[in-house]
Symmetry: C2
Subunit: 298 residues, 2 copies
């Protein structure tokens, strides 16, 4: 598995939390031949070079991508299309391209817009790992350890390309799973995009109320954890909801139905319905936690 | 401050997370004369005695409460009225009574039902501290360190009684704040009861969907933290929503309006509204976190 990356030139476009963590992970393993970063902020790129995390850098994709073995696109979702457009003019089909965006239908559409169809050497991907903190300064060497990475290869995607991207994630400690594009967007809408929308909305609702400072003063640990994801990068989440709005609204509608039901149960003091719901939720959540903790310590 | 509790007999009714943590905190300080627990589960009470956390115990309030200086009622919200009824027949006005329920209007009503009016020696209280874990086994010696405790004394509440209850919480490391009953219920509905309802509902919605196991398999750290409070004690939260339903539904309605607005913004790809909302929420949440962390390390 580690031989697969030997002497390879890996170009990472976007050195934020995810791109930076890929670079840190790879450089710590000293497996790849060359790790090159492309970004807009030269100070950050220079910092990464000084940290020994990348071999070299550029602010221009065209200067460094032509002879890359793998290009990892780690920019906000809505910027992927432009990045693909720039890549189109320089890379050949010998370069494997992958991305890390949290939405996959929109990325496949972007690829079709740019190339006419999803190229055989493009493997859409999404590491389910992150943090409410963003940017290179938040990146860590072990971000992907024990985490899941979903790849959504198309019918025409080259098997070699999928193998190479799989190897890349596996050396970083991740478990790689393939699934259809729609299924990815549906699952992520339910488990990630919807909770982010709910958390952003709750903090926003409270902050718009009079004396919101006083309200926040009495909020405790439960509130802190519930709203942690509302400290996430607004740009990234703006892009995700612009790109995966349909699946998110579908999950939201099903959730709001459940909320309406609970609202009625609270108003009518329907003791049985409240108990049944809370017990069922606790069982499910405890089961999820068990699953999650076993996974993280594997 | 610590002198105030010297030689006092403190009776704690309900040795769960809160009652147990009060007993642990007090016994570790060796300030009180006597710490007596009342509960239903003799094995737990015996365990606490073996742990050196309480001086003695009983399963019957009437056997131990008569000569108490302070009685702390730490049972689920809807059980407080029955507890007050039992206390009524044994304690005099020389015993200060307080409670720890997360709802205060309902407790005041319970006191009126039992005594005809809220007795001068009863100080309604609520420590804003907890955990998704419950029971004596989850109790800790430092649960109230750096936390806030809200007391909602009435016009006729004896100043001496308020002082004594304040001293009790202060020796446990808490900051004590007085506020009106309605204000307490409003603030807690927004910062605690509503988030719990939302978290229970989300886990329940997802668990009711086909292939929910698969959905949970891809949920990550954001989901874990967002839903932590859905692992809370169903009985406790059932009681809270039964008791503070009106204020919670008011907060929920204001939240659902905000959700509807965001839903429309997502559907219409209203870029500006999404960015504005997420940025505003992130600023508020980061500000809350700063406040919270300063508070906890004081």
């Amino acid at each position: 598995m580690s031989d697969t990356l030997k002497n390879k030139k890996i170009v990472i476009i976007g050195l934020g939390l995810i791109g930076g963590s890929i670079a840190r992970g790879l450089s710590s393993l000293q497996l790849a031949g060359e790790i090159v970063a492309v970004g807009r902020n030269e100070a950050v790129l220079q910092q990464a070079k000084n940290d020994g995390v990348i071999s070299s850098f550029s602010t221009n994709i065209k200067d460094v991508a032509a002879d890359a073995d793998i290009v990892v696109i780690a920019v906000p979702s809505l910027t992927v299309e432009n990045t693909l457009l720039e890549l189109k003019s320089v890379v050949s089909e010998n370069t494997v391209i992958t991305d890390v965006a949290s939405v996959k239908n929109a990325i496949v559409e972007a690829a079709v817009n740019v190339f006419g169809e999803v190229p055989e050497n493009f493997v859409p991907g999404h590491p389910i790992a992150g943090s409410e903190h963003s940017g290179y300064s938040a990146s860590t060497v072990e971000l992907f350890q024990g985490k899941k990475v979903i790849l959504t290869p198309m019918e025409n995607t080259a098997a070699d390309a999928v193998s190479l991207v799989t190897a890349l994630w596996q050396v970083l400690g991740a478990e790689v799973i393939n699934m259809p594009v729609d299924r990815h967007d549906e699952i992520l809408a339910a488990t990630s995009h919807l909770p982010h929308l709910l958390a952003f909305a709750l903090v926003d609702t409270l902050s718009q109320q009079g004396e919101s400072e006083e309200i926040f003063r009495y909020a405790a640990g439960g509130f802190r954890d519930f709203t942690r994801i509302a400290s996430s990068d607004p740009q990234m989440w703006h892009d995700i909801f612009m790109a995966n709005g349909e699946a998110t609204v579908k999950a939201l509608d099903s959730y709001m139905q459940d909320l309406e039901r609970l609202r009625a149960a609270v108003l009518s003091k329907n003791s049985e319905e409240l108990m049944t719901t809370f017990k069922r939720a606790k069982v499910s959540r405890d089961k999820f936690l068990e699953l999650f903790e076993n996974r993280s310590t594997e």
